[in-house]
Structures are given as structure tokens and as C-alpha cells.
Amino acid sequence: MIRFESVTAIYPGHTARALDDVDVLVDEGEFVFLVGESGSGKSTFLRLVLREMKAARGKVYVAGKDVGRLRWGVPKHRRRVGTVFQDFRLLPTKTVAQNVAFALQVIGKPRAQIQQLVPETLELVGLSGMGQRLPDELSGGEQQRVAIARAFVNRPQILIADEPTGNLDPHTSDEIMGLLDRINRTGTTVLMATHDVGVVDQMRKRVVELDGGRVVRDQLRGVYGHSY
């Protein structure tokens, strides 16, 4: 599903390598944690998958496509990848249902399909009945559920999450992880960057650890790190 072939990433105007000769293969339906210190390259890894940036060297394949070669196909590629961030990124003037529907409208889905998918997805993430609320009437955990619903409403093959529990307290984090797990069980590949020890240790999923842009550990059913 995702294949990195000796990928090196450098931010424009910089010389340091944000990723340095990374080889990773993620199969369809896997649940992978990306861990590592701040600045180790986790977000960069996800940006490459999303084609927000291009690899300086090496190739990134997503769903069989060399994303570095995409140009006009970038939007279409992104429709296959759902994304969730630490800061939710909801539109504060739209209701929960409108926020989720927005993701379908702007890619031109017909109205009928939107009216079916949105409530369905809100129920899946445990927000049925909250469709008419505004984001700031929700708790952080509920807001993150909306963000997940928006990422998942188009049924992407891959779900990317960059520290989705970074702003949440431990209890809420657990609930969100349960939700991501459920989404993973539908067959969606989940790739999550985090440095939340509790979350990683509890889930016991595959762990890829980065350090200074290099993969230093790739462990099935891993924990956060040795020292903790």
C-alpha cells in the first residue's frame, strides 16, 4: 500500500536531511505507529505520503502509484488518503455535519450520496445526534472524532494521523485510539505519528522508530521505546 524506496527528503532552502535513505513497506490493512523524538522526521514521512512535498531522492509509492510523478493527479491521489491532525482543523463556522459534508462537496460528490454518507459516518465515529452542533460546542475528543469522520467519509484506502492525541487527555486519547482501531478493522491502512507512550504501549501494533531522519527500529507489536 505504501512503499518508501531509499527516500531522502530535504526542505527547500535547507541542507539537513529531514529523512535520510528511508526504506519502509506498509501492507494493506496494517496499523503502523511512527515514533521518534521531535524533529526525527515523522511529519515529513506523512507529508511525503500525502504528496505535500516531494522526495529529494528515492521513490514513494502509494497504492501502486509513484506519487513523485503525479502532477495534475495530486488531488485525486489525496482522495485516497484521509488525514487527521493534532489541531483538528475544523471550520468553526460550519456545523459538525457541514464540516464532514464539506469534504465531499469540494470533490464534487452528488448531493444524494452526501446525504447518505454523512450521517452514516457520524454514527460510525460515535457522534450521531451531534450533527447540528458547532465545533466549539464540542470537547476536544469530540472535535477529533469530527476530524476523523471528515477524513474517513470518502472511505479512503489509507488514513494518516499526525499526533491525533497530542491535544487530548489520556482518557479521551484512549477513546480516539479505539476509533482508529475500528477504522483499521474495516481494512483501512492506518499510519499514525505519535510520541504518546501510553497509546503506543497499549495498542501493541507495528512501530517504526525514526531518529534523525533514519529508521532505527521496525518492530511488529512494538512498544514506544526501550527506555520508557
Partner: protein, 305 residues
């Protein structure tokens, strides 16, 4: 595509940036109006040139009893007139000519100098047909080639003066040209300002909508879909600006040209509705081009996918 969304976004965009939009519309409006006035002045200059150019370009005035130039000794004689006429007929520069008697000259004089004001008529009531001069009106083959005939006639006995209409009209052309270029120069400055404001409007709109745009990019909305509201937003501004400019020009045509100049002053052919429509067309094309081009450039710059 959900056009409803696009239009509602455009509407919110225009409303949100209302001060920006007004500034943009006003600048487009004023600059285009000035360009349009420049075009109208251009048409007017063309028309005047054609009007006077269709008339005869050189007028040879005969001496009358009062003439005090060297070549005159009282009223021109029949023999002198015959010589003058043969000189004109023999010149290779002359295309055609005709003779104008004192009565006709007096008519023209009255038309030009007395038509406007009834009081002036009384002031100049002392002038009679006999004070007028007989004259030959000459049409040249090439209006620029007048030196030979002018020189030849200037020394002829019985000729009081040779008038080249172009000389007389020079200051009028000068002022028309000056005003035209003045209007176009000012318009040019404002057009630069307008182009930059288009860029700024888009930058500001992109900023105001940065969250939406971020999410659209994230979920895979197409480039066109993301930039359409911006395009339409500036297009609407440009259209309003063009419409205002057109309205201003038509008002000017109706009030000034048709209401005041055409009825009272007939010594020149004035611009008509057709000229103003042409000018408006040019202005509209310019307005749209000058907003669409920076819009396309700016959306590429600020809305990278």
C-alpha cells in the same frame, strides 16, 4: 461541481472583503472611464480631422477695399482674379477648387461668429457683406503637399492672405491630443494600481479563506475548484467596474455631447453613439483582460496545490 457552493463562496468573499472590493471596483471604474474618455477624444480628433479634411484645405482671400497688405491695392481686379485662378488651376498639387463670393462669405461669418449669442449679433451688426473678402477654396491632392501652391499664391497681386486650415486648427488638435494623452496617462497609472489591487484582493481572500483552502487541498479538491471563487470574485468586480465606466461614458454622451455640444455647435462633427459603443467595447475588453491575467497569475501563486 457544486456551483451553488462556488457562488455562495464568491458572495461571502465579496462581502468579507467589502472594503477591498469597493477599492478595486472604484479604481477599475475610474481608470476605465478615463481610458474610455481617451478613446472618445481620439475618435473626436479623427472625426474633426476627417470633417475639416473633407472641406477644402487652403483658402485664398482676395483683397477688398480695406485690405492693407503689400499685394493689395484696393479691391481685387478681374484681371488679377483670372491670373490667380490660372495659377491655381495649373498647380500639380491642386485636386479641385471653387470660388466663394462676398455674400456666401458673410453667411459663413455669421454662422461661425454670431450663431451663439443674440447680443453678439448686435455687437457685430456693424459688419456687412461688403466687409467680407472673395476667396478661392482649394482642395489638395495630398493635404501635406501645400508648400508650392502657398508660395506661388502668396506673391500674386490681389491676394490678401492664404490660409492653411491646418495651421488654424493646430491649437485645437494640440489641446485634444494633450487631453487624450493626459487621460490615458492618468488611466495608465490607475490601471497599474488596479492590477496590483487585483493581486492584493486575491492575496487577502486567500488569507481569509486559508482554513477552507487548506482543507480543500487536503481532501483532494481540484485546482480549478479551489481557484474558481477567486476568479469569479475578481470577475464580478471587473464587471461592475466596466458597467460603471460604461454608464459614466453613456451619461457623458447623453448629457454633454448630445445634450449640449451637438445641438449648439455645428462647426465640427461630434462623436456619436457608435463611437461611444466602440470605446465601451475596448474598455470592457481591457478591463476583463487586466483583471483576469493577474487573477490567473495570483491564484497560481497563492493557491499552490
Amino acid at each position: 461541481m457544486h456551483l451553488r457552493y462556488v457562488f455562495s463562496e464568491t458572495r461571502t468573499g465579496l462581502r468579507r472583503n467589502v472594503s477591498m472590493s469597493i477599492a478595486l471596483i472604484v479604481t477599475i471604474f475610474v481608470s476605465l472611464t478615463l481610458v474610455g474618455m481617451g478613446l472618445l477624444l481620439n475618435s473626436q480628433a479623427d472625426k474633426a480631422e476627417r470633417f475639416w479634411g473633407d472641406k477644402l484645405q487652403i483658402t485664398v482671400f482676395m483683397c477688398n477695399a480695406n485690405s492693407q497688405v503689400d499685394t493689395c491695392e484696393g479691391e481685387v481686379t478681374a484681371a488679377q482674379k483670372a491670373t490667380i485662378e490660372s495659377t491655381i488651376a495649373a498647380s500639380p498639387e491642386v485636386d479641385s477648387f471653387y470660388f466663394q463670393g462676398k455674400e456666401r462669405a458673410f453667411e459663413t461669418w455669421k454662422e461661425v461668429y454670431l450663431s451663439q449669442d443674440s447680443e453678439q449679433q448686435e455687437i457685430y451688426s456693424t459688419v456687412t457683406a461688403d466687409d467680407m473678402q472673395e476667396s478661392y477654396w482649394i482642395k489638395l491632392k495630398d493635404p501635406e503637399q501645400f508648400q508650392g501652391i502657398k508660395a506661388a499664391l502668396g506673391e500674386e497681386q490681389g491676394v490678401a492672405a492664404v490660409r492653411d486650415l491646418r495651421e488654424v486648427l493646430k491649437p485645437i488638435y494640440f489641446w485634444m491630443t494633450a487631453m487624450k494623452w493626459g487621460a490615458i496617462a492618468v488611466a495608465g497609472f490607475l490601471l497599474i494600481a488596479a492590477i496590483m489591487q487585483v493581486g492584493n484582493t486575491i492575496r487577502m481572500a486567500a488569507y481569509a479563506r486559508r482554513k477552507e483552502i487548506g482543507i480543500m487541498r487536503l481532501v483532494g479538491a481540484s485546482r480549478l475548484y479551489i481557484s474558481l471563487p477567486f476568479l469569479i470574485e475578481t470577475l464580478v468586480a471587473a464587471t461592475i467596474g466596466v458597467a460603471l465606466a460604461a454608464a459614466a461614458m453613456l451619461t457623458f454622451m447623453y448629457v454633454v455631447i448630445y445634450g449640449m455640444l451637438r445641438p449648439t455647435s455645428t462647426i465640427v462633427e461630434w462623436v456619436d453613439w457608435q463611437d461611444s459603443f466602440l470605446a465601451i467595447g475596448g474598455v470592457a475588453a481591457l478591463g476583463l483582460a487586466l483583471t483576469l491575467l493577474p487573477t490567473l497569475l495570483m491564484t497560481r501563486k497563492y493557491l499552490k496545490v
